[in-house]
Amino acid sequence: MSVIRTGAIVAPRLGRAVSRAIPPKISDAEREVVCLFDESRSSVFRYVLSFGLSTEDGEEVTQEVFLALFQHLRLGKSRHNLRGWIFCVAHNLALKRRQVNQHSRNGVYSERAVAESQFDPCLNPEEQVLSAQRQTRLRAVLAALPEQDQHCLRLRAEGLCYREISRVLGISLGAVSLSLTRSLRRLRFADGG
């Protein structure tokens, strides 16, 4: 599998058609996939990264998701809730990639991520320290959450409704609701403490 580095796109092996003067005709499926890519690539990328994947792996998995979507559309399969479908595929591919890499971590909120946290320039130095402490507490609680609870939170953060989350994770709607409630309660206490 080719690895894509940020800012240095690996040129794909294109056929002779690319060198033709007339650009190839864009199919409806292709156009739709690119549209959906523009809409949801950031969300999918963030979700994939939350499995502890590197940026390069995240980029590759995200590409694979949309290539799979292209095949899905071309085969005339169900177009019902494509966003849910995209996250479902992203979830499975990210899990697979993490297993292959065999360097799973306790989620995205790792030490590296903490070190990379940004400060809000609108805050004064004292507020910045307090804000950083609060964020550190939240990250610690997030990292301690069961993995499924973290997935629920991240999917919700990316705008999925409960029904979509339940489909992506293969759990009941009630389990989604309880998971989110439980996680937010823990975060709330962390924030207060």
């Binding site: 894509i4 940020t6 800012g7 796109i9 794909p12 092996r13 294109l14 056929g15 058609a17 690319v18 190839p24 199919s27 292709e30 996939v33 690119v34 890519f37 523009d38 690539r41 950031s42 990328f45 963030r46 990264l49 939350s50 940026t55 995240g58 980029e59 590409q63 949309f66 290539l67 292209f70 095949q71 071309r74 995205v108 909120y109 991520a113 990379e116 946290s117 940004q118 609060r134 964020q135 939240l138 990250r139 939170l153 991240r154 919700r156 953060a157 409704c161 409960y162 009941s172 709607l173 009630g174 609701s177 309880l178 989110l180 409630t181 937010l184 309660r185 975060l187 709330r188 924030d191």
Partner: protein
């Protein structure tokens, strides 16, 4: 009946905040929040925690997401390549592309799958595996025959939101669970619901309450809410008498739902919150 002694659970607050409730249920929660400072302040805490989480989520991950232009160009090139490849493969007949070894493998795989499916069917039939899928969608009539305070439509139609929305107290919930022999069941999976809703003259009496499944059946509490709302409007609009509405919902609310909504299944919009 007043609602000030009751508070919304964190789960109810979150479902409301996330727009996961039916319109009727959301109205009920909104009415409660208007009246209850305690729940409103907890609601604010929930919202504030969500905002804090989103800040951490974005600040941690956004810096790692590269600009979209390069990846989009790469995707387009890959799609074009895929399109051409599949065009070429499309023209090629299928069978010559499969070696004898692959064909043999496919045949063996098909046989294994067919055999496996047969075994599962056989096992299921032998053990009579049936899920108690619709257990509890109707109350036990000997425990919950229904109880009303009035049969005068004027009194139910003049009710405030707070009176129509009458949450069941924790102690009453525990009594109902115990009565139904499910004292240890996860309370989130059931709504202790009024058989005859206060909006139709029902009262907070154990004979009028039962643990109604929230999630595991399509005939769940969210669907019943829609019937309750419909009947309340029909009574107040003079289209049906209050005693008739009370009788229908107490006898078999599912039959009443089918009758009034002209359907054998819950309407999709009534399953918007839950399925």
């Amino acid at each position: 009946m007043k609602s000030e002694n009751f508070h919304l659970s964190d789960e109810q607050l979150l479902l409301f905040a996330d727009g996961e409730l039916t319109a009727h249920r959301a109205d009920q929660i909104r009415a409660h929040l208007r009246a209850c400072w305690d729940c409103r302040s907890r609601m604010a805490e929930v919202e504030s925690t969500i905002a804090e989480f989103m800040q951490v989520h974005r600040q941690t991950l956004d810096p790692q997401v590269p600009p979209i232009d390069g990846p989009r160009a790469l995707l387009r090139a890959r799609l074009a390549e895929l399109e051409r490849t599949s065009h070429r493969n499309h023209r090629r007949p299928l069978l010559p592309a499969l070696s004898l070894r692959r064909l043999a493998y496919l045949c063996a795989l098909t046989l294994i799958i067919a055999f496996g499916a047969r075994m599962v069917q056989h096992h299921a039939a032998r053990n009579n595996i049936t899920l108690p899928h619709d257990a509890g969608i109707l109350p036990n009539p000997s425990l919950t025959p229904g109880a009303t305070a009035t049969t005068a439509p004027g009194s139910v139609c003049s009710m405030s939101d707070g009176e129509v929305v009458t949450p069941v107290s924790g102690s009453q919930r525990r009594r109902v669970f115990k009565e139904y022999g499910i004292a240890g069941a996860p309370s989130a999976n059931y709504e202790v619901d009024y058989l005859i809703t206060p909006g139709l003259g029902g009262v907070d009496d154990i004979r009028n309450l039962w643990p109604e499944p929230r999630y595991d059946t399509m005939w769940n509490s969210f669907v019943k809410d829609q019937l309750e709302e419909y009947l309340h409007r029909a009574v107040c609009g003079g289209r049906i008498s209050l005693p008739a509405a009370q009788h229908e919902i107490a006898s078999n609310w599912i039959i009443a739902y089918k009758k009034y909504f002209h359907t054998n299944r819950p309407l999709p919009e009534h399953l918007a919150g839950y399925q």
